[in-house]
């Protein structure tokens, strides 16, 4: 049987930024409806992890009626194991700014914000310089769009879109109820488009080369490329742009250290895939991929056989316990109890069967938590406990 072990490396995101002025001026001379259709036909999905179709989001915001609208670039990259947005903003900031301006043109928004996490404050001098130059060009071509940076202050939950807006409004970063969605009632209750940094960078590619070039890459339901942040037990950690739809087996063949025990796909809120399931797992959005398909914000953490999966889970749960905003009970109490629970099982204070009780608790959290944080604790918890049951007990 022929096994290819080939990952398709692509280089879109970090190249061809220099012509942003031309891309901006030609794009804003096209009809907004044409641009939306182009974006919809590219089948670009949000690259932050949730995977909402970007074209549809922009369309909804464009159709919303309001006296003012806003564009937000979500650069609150807090998911453990992701660091691609920082790289995009430091290497190709003009792509992101151009995409925001084009989005403003399509939806009718005049103001955009980059919500930058506090940990990336060192990026602001360079980024402000880029914004200034961008602003200057916009004035030159008489295009009215203003971009500014809004700094976060070290809260993971503010990466959740509605929590981010609460935070921008000067409140505690507690997620709102959905619906209404931000495209109707977003920042200051106005229609708002909020996109991940990488999503915006991809729209630049689409506006420059057309949807087909993007659509031709990837597989059905998961079109295009994606940046992957590779870390953990790997000889070559870093950021790689790869085509979506690859098998995890091929990924590990390329990036593993020969002793890979498991891969955490999608950060602490994603799934852990053990070695025996590598060949069935594909990286992409849910669809007709064979086997397990794993959507991801791009975090790929590799663990080799020297790592204790109990420690990994313990670390994740501590992370969630601290970063839970505390607003809704399932998440606030759930995260605390899960952490206490696995420690009690490990110490022998609770029987092994207690783990199944904890699994039921994560299921409850999945159904009842208000936002993605509480709902996704179940992902890593169940995938670690089910696949590495013995390590949790002994």
């Amino acid at each position: 049987m022929a096994v290819t072990h080939q990952l398709k490396r692509v280089d879109f995101i970090f190249s061809n930024e220099n012509d942003w002025e031309k891309v901006l001026s030609t794009t804003i001379n096209k009809k907004p409806t044409d641009l939306i259709n182009e974006l919809i036909s590219s089948e670009l999905k949000g690259r932050g992890g949730a995977g909402f179709p970007t074209g549809l989001k922009w369309k909804l915001a464009a159709e919303a009626k309001a006296d003012s609208k806003y564009i937000i670039c979500n650069a609150d990259e807090g998911e453990p194991g992701t660091f691609k947005d920082r790289e995009i903003l430091s290497k190709v900031p003009y792509k992101v700014l151009t995409a925001m301006a084009v989005c403003g043109y399509i939806t009718g928004a005049k103001e955009g914000f980059i919500y930058l996490r506090g940990e990336y404050k060192f990026l602001t001098p360079e980024l402000n310089k880029a914004i200034k130059e961008f602003d200057y060009y916009c004035k030159e071509i008489k295009f009215d769009f203003k971009i500014s940076i809004f700094m976060g202050s070290g809260a993971y939950i503010c990466g959740e879109e509605t929590a981010l807006m609460e935070s921008m409004e000067g409140k505690r970063g507690e997620p709102r109820n959905k619906p209404p969605f931000p495209t109707q009632n977003g920042y200051l209750d106005k229609p708002t488009v909020i996109n991940n940094v990488e999503t915006l960078a991809h729209t630049y590619t689409i506006f420059k080369y057309g949807a087909k070039k993007f659509y031709d890459l990837g597989v059905q339901y998961s079109r295009g490329t994606k940046l992957f942040s590779v870390s953990g037990d790997t000889p070559k950690p870093g950021i790689y742009e790869l085509e979506l739809g690859m098998s995890l087996q091929d990924f590990v063949y390329e990036f593993g250290d020969g002793d890979t025990k498991a891969v955490q796909v999608g950060g602490a809120s994603g799934f852990l895939v053990p070695r025996k399931k590598f060949k069935d797992a594909a990286i992409g959005f849910k669809g007709k991929l064979t086997g397990i398909s794993l959507p991801t914000g791009g975090s790929m953490m590799l663990f080799n056989s020297s790592r204790s999966m109990f420690n990994v889970l313990d670390n994740y749960l501590e992370f969630f316990r601290e970063e839970s905003c505390g607003q809704c009970t399932p998440c606030r109490v759930g995260c605390q109890q899960l952490l206490l629970g696995i420690k009690a099982v490990k110490r022998g204070e609770k029987p092994a069967s207690y783990l199944s009780k904890l699994l039921r608790l994560t299921e409850t959290m999945q159904y009842t938590a208000k936002c993605g944080l509480g709902q996704s604790v179940a992902n890593s918890f169940s995938s670690i406990v089910e696949n590495f049951h013995e390590e949790m007990i002994y």
Binding site: P80, F83, Y156, G170, S231, G232, P237
Partner: protein, 160 residues
């Protein structure tokens, strides 16, 4: 006028007397004083014209807005999974040994505060830490001792 009071006044003027300016104002105070005192919170509340409890509630939500006095240099070492796997504890021990403080404490001369934080986004160059806004990556006990030594020298110059 008290320098913090005038800073808050300036920031309110710059960002506007609205709730949306609360975070930028608090961040400006924290940048200056390294923490947000009760006095600052009340003053911000007065300037922005919102209840002081709201300011307190918002301030305590964010981990980068300290509400207790801290040292001039806040060391935040990343404790999330990749950094934890790549030797964060050894680095932490080296810092604790050198500064003779434990996690959450401040040195008696008010120079350094040692804290842990969640993922800093440098997993490919783990372990990582921040001192104020500056990032240091691929740390080892030796490297961290060098870094701290240079900070100690720097703060000495500033004092003299």
């Amino acid at each position: 006028m008290n320098p913090i009071k005038s800073l808050i006044k300036d920031m309110t003027k710059k960002h506007g007397k609205t709730r949306e300016s609360l975070l930028p104002i608090m961040q400006a105070v924290v940048e200056k004083e390294k923490y947000l005192s009760e006095y600052s919170m009340i003053e911000i509340a007065r300037q922005v014209d919102i209840p002081a409890a709201e300011v307190y509630g918002t301030a305590t939500f964010y981990s980068f807005i300290e509400t207790k006095p801290t040292g001039r240099y806040i060391i935040r070492i990343c404790k999330t999974i990749t950094c934890a796997m790549k030797g964060k504890n050894q680095v932490l021990f080296a810092i604790q040994n050198m500064l003779k403080i434990k996690l959450g404490e401040t040195t008696p001369d008010n120079r350094f505060t040692l804290l842990e934080t969640n993922c800093l986004g440098w997993c490919h160059k783990a372990p990582a830490m921040m001192i104020n806004d500056e990032v240091f990556t691929e740390l080892t006990p030796e490297k961290v001792r060098d870094i701290l030594t240079s900070y100690m020298k720097m703060s000495q110059i500033n004092v003299n």
